[in-house]
Structure formats: C-alpha cells, structure tokens
Amino acid sequence: MTTTILYRVLLVVVHLTISLKELLAVICCRMMKLLTSGVGDGEPRSVPAIKHEASRRLKRLPVHLGIVVVEEDLHVVDIVKIVAWSMAVGISYITIYDYKGWCKKNKATILRVLEEQKEKMETNGQNKTKCSTVNNSNGVINPLTGGGDCQRQKPKLQIVGPEDGRQHLISVARHLSHQVLNCEIKNDDIAVPFVDAVIRGNDLDPDPDLVMKFGAVNSLLGFLPWQTRLTEIISLPTHHRIDFASFLTALDQFGYTEQRYGK
C-alpha cells in the first residue's frame, strides 16, 4: 500500500514536471512575442501587408484549411481573424468546425463579424503592393494580389458541425441501402470512389490538406472523418487572442510537411 502511494506520488511529480516545462515554454514564447512584436500587433493587419509577409516567408499554402476549435469557450472575433488572415494569404477553401456545432448555428453572426473584419483590413491597406505568389499544395501558383493586374481566386468559406461528420456517413449508408434494396445499384458498387462521390454530392471542394486545431484536447472530435484521411494536423494551444505571427508559424510548419500517399 505504501509503495503504491509512493509510485503514485512519483507519477504526479513526473506529470507536474512536464506541465511546468510546457508552461515555461508558453511563457517564454509569449515574452519573446512581447519583446519582438511591434506596436499594434493585435490590430487588424492590412491585406497587402499580410500578403507581403506570407509570400516572403511561406514555402507553400494549403488549398483547403480546416479551422477546428476544440475549446469550450468560443470567441467569434478570434475565429473570424483566422478566417480573414487565411483569405488574405490566398487560401482558397476554409472550413470552420467546433464539436458542439455552435459556429454552424450562428453562421450569420460569424459572417457579419467577418465582413467587419475584412472592412478594417481593407481600410488599413491603403498602399497597393506588387503581385507576389506562393505555391499552394497542388503546385498551382496562387496569386496574392494587392489589386490591379493579377486575378484573385475568391476564397470559399463553409461552416460545418458534428452532423456533417459521422451522422452524414450514416445518412449516406441509409441512402445506399435504399438504392440496393430498390436495385438501383448493386451492393458491390459500394466502393470508395462511388461512396466518395455520394458523400460529396455537388461539392467539388478538395479535402482539407491542413487542419489548425485550437485547444488542448488532442483530438479532432468528429471533424469530417471521411475527408480528413490525409490531412496534416497542426495544434495551437488556443484561438483566444491569437496573433498573426502564430498563424503564420503554423502555415510555415505546413510548408515543410511531405505527403507520400502510401508510396
């Protein structure tokens, strides 16, 4: 009994040591940011400034970014900042998800706040910059325009909830069972390419190639299981008061990943 308690105490000490180390790392990181960040770093940056910094620093961009919030407390303004930055750097598809489905239920609020954020960023960007490019992960050149000569690919935003994950797969299973029962398809037709087409319906969007997960929970908590088979996952501690530097660092990290697709 005594030895069991001793082992338990030692385990707690190990966990506390690891937690302390992680806390110190977070504190050091924040202090470094405070020392190196300029005035107004928390203010909305201008679109041209974002594009310039992204093209200078990033090796490649994801085509489709998933913003997955696994925290209890959602801050719309911070989520919207991430979306606005993603659009500004030139990410073509953005999906927001939280495991409670709050974002999907409050889509109108999010879109309204996003418009306000974009207006602030447009207002800040008085000077036009030259066109610069960053490769997206399909190798296609994705122009980052400051307006003027280069064309902009309009980003697409969608907001999903838990019903779009497992529950959608259940709906598809029921639908396919109905089709087999009515001899519209054969059972053997239910294979990956066919099911993939049914799941997507008219949606031709590519699967997320990057998820930024915000929160301490080490799980995607049901975010689009079918579509995330090859998705890179980068975890950030929180979306609360997220700054552009952290967002850019995560994108930079993505640039160094390598997909082998089983080969």
Binding site: T3, T4, Y7, R8, L10, L11, V14, H15, I18, R166, Q167, L169, I170, V172, A173, R174, L176, S177, H178, V180, L181, N187, D188, I190, A191, V192, V195, D196, V217, N218, S219, L220, L221, G222, P225, W226, T228, R229, L230, T231, E232, I233, I234, S235, T257, Y261, G262, K263
Partner: protein, 239 residues
C-alpha cells in the same frame, strides 16, 4: 525476432512500469508504424532491413504494452495505398509477412501461454492466396485467446473499411434483417472490421508526421493522437 518476447527486464524498466501503472493506463492503443524506409536511408541499410527492424521494434513495443497492462493494440502494418510502391518493395513486404506469420504458427505455445488473440483487419482479397491462408490459420489458431488482443491492419484503409460496413448494412436491409431506419452509429460500428474492439484510447504515430493517413478515421473520434519523437522509446506512455 519473435512476436512475443520474454526478455528479462532491467530494474529501471520495472520501476518505470510500476510508477506508470499507479495511474490510468489506456486499454486500447493504436499505432501507425511509420518511418522504416527513412530509418533505413539514414543508417545506410536496405529497405528490407528497415522493415525488419521496424517489426523488431514493434515486438518490443508490444512487450512494453504487455508490461503496462495495455490489453489491446491495433497496428497499421500495410495500407491498400502501399500497393502503389515498387513491385520490388511490395514483394519484400509480402515476403516479410510470410516469414512472420509462419513464425507465429511456430510460436503457438508461447502465444497460448500469454493468451494473445491475433486479428487481421483489412481486405484480404488483395493479398496473395498463400498469405491469405496463413493469416486465416493464425487467426483461427488464436481466436479463443482473451488476455491480450493484437489487431494487425493489412491491406487496409479506413475509407475501405467504412465502405465494407456500408455494404454489410445494405445487405442486411436487402435481406430484410434490418430496416433502413435501424442504421445508426452504434449499428454501423458493429459492421466495421473493428467491431469486437472498443475505440482506441490513444493513437501513436512513429516518425513525427501528424496525420491519420486513412487509419481508423471513424474510430478515433475521441482518441488522443500522440506524436512520438522519431526514436520509439518507453517514455511515450508518460503522456
């Protein structure tokens, strides 16, 4: 190297195990075995040697799991996507499978001693016939064992597994066994390859990549993915 190792444990190993076992231990751990070829390249080995060393490290990891009381382990050994590799490498991996399943049959007594149940999850039809037969014999031989469970995913992808479950459900509806409205998440889970297992508590990927690569996409909804440092050591359990 054997599937089941009975090496003498060092005092430090024993001590660490006792400390860890005083706290919560996952009952089911899933492992994506990644990095064999990079390991081989880094150490100037042949790829075949890299895969063999990967198996050896797996056997060691299973030993750690056994010591810690982790009763179920699911490993991602060979993906359907891996058939896209060069014929030479695919043949090499098939040959490794033949050797290891043959070895498993020879170690019957040891496996019975520890009562380890081997399950092979995946689309066996894509494998050479002789390997299918070896797998079938191994699975049949150990089916009544119940102290530890090793699920080996071979010729597997999660999307393929999900389609397999959908086919099963469609057949059930066609035969009048169930109605469409009976199809629910819990029934769906009973049609997956992993129907006999609880969802994994912990997912580990060796080599440092942070993605699922079409592994247990349905099952890991609440699992904690943990990314290891490249060298797979016992400290992974500490987290």
């Amino acid at each position: 190297m054997s599937w089941i190792r009975e090496n003498k444990r060092s005092l430090i190993h024993d001590f660490c195990v006792r400390v860890l076992k005083s706290g919560p231990i996952p009952s089911h751990v899933a492992i994506i075995m990644d990095g064999n070829r990079r390991f081989a390249r880094k150490n100037n080995f042949d790829r075949a040697v890299g895969h063999l060393r990967g198996f050896d490290k797996l056997a060691e990891a299973l030993e750690w799991c056994w010591d810690l009381g982790i009763t179920e382990v699911t490993i991602y050994a060979f993906s359907i996507e891996n058939f896209k590799r060069s014929q030479e490498e695919v043949d090499c991996l098939m040959e490794l499978m033949r050797k290891k399943f043959a070895q498993l049959m020879e170690e019957k007594e040891l496996i019975e001693k520890y009562s380890v149940c081997f399950r092979v999850l995946g689309d066996w039809n894509r494998l050479p016939l002789d390997i299918q037969q070896m797998i079938a014999k191994s699975v049949a031989m150990t089916r009544n064992n119940n102290r530890a469970f090793l699920n080996i995913c071979i010729s597997y992808t999660s999307q393929d597994e999900i389609c397999y479950a959908m086919r099963n459900l469609a057949e059930g509806v066609s035969l009048g066994i169930i109605d469409e409205s009976d199809i629910s998440e819990s029934l769906f889970e009973k049609c997956l390859y992993t129907k006999k297992s609880a969802p994994p508590d912990l997912l580990i990927r060796t080599s440092g990549e942070v993605r699922l690569s079409d592994f247990l996409l349905w099952q890991v909804k609440i699992s904690r993915p943990l990314i290891l440092i490249p060298k797979f050591i016992n400290l992974f359990i500490v987290s």
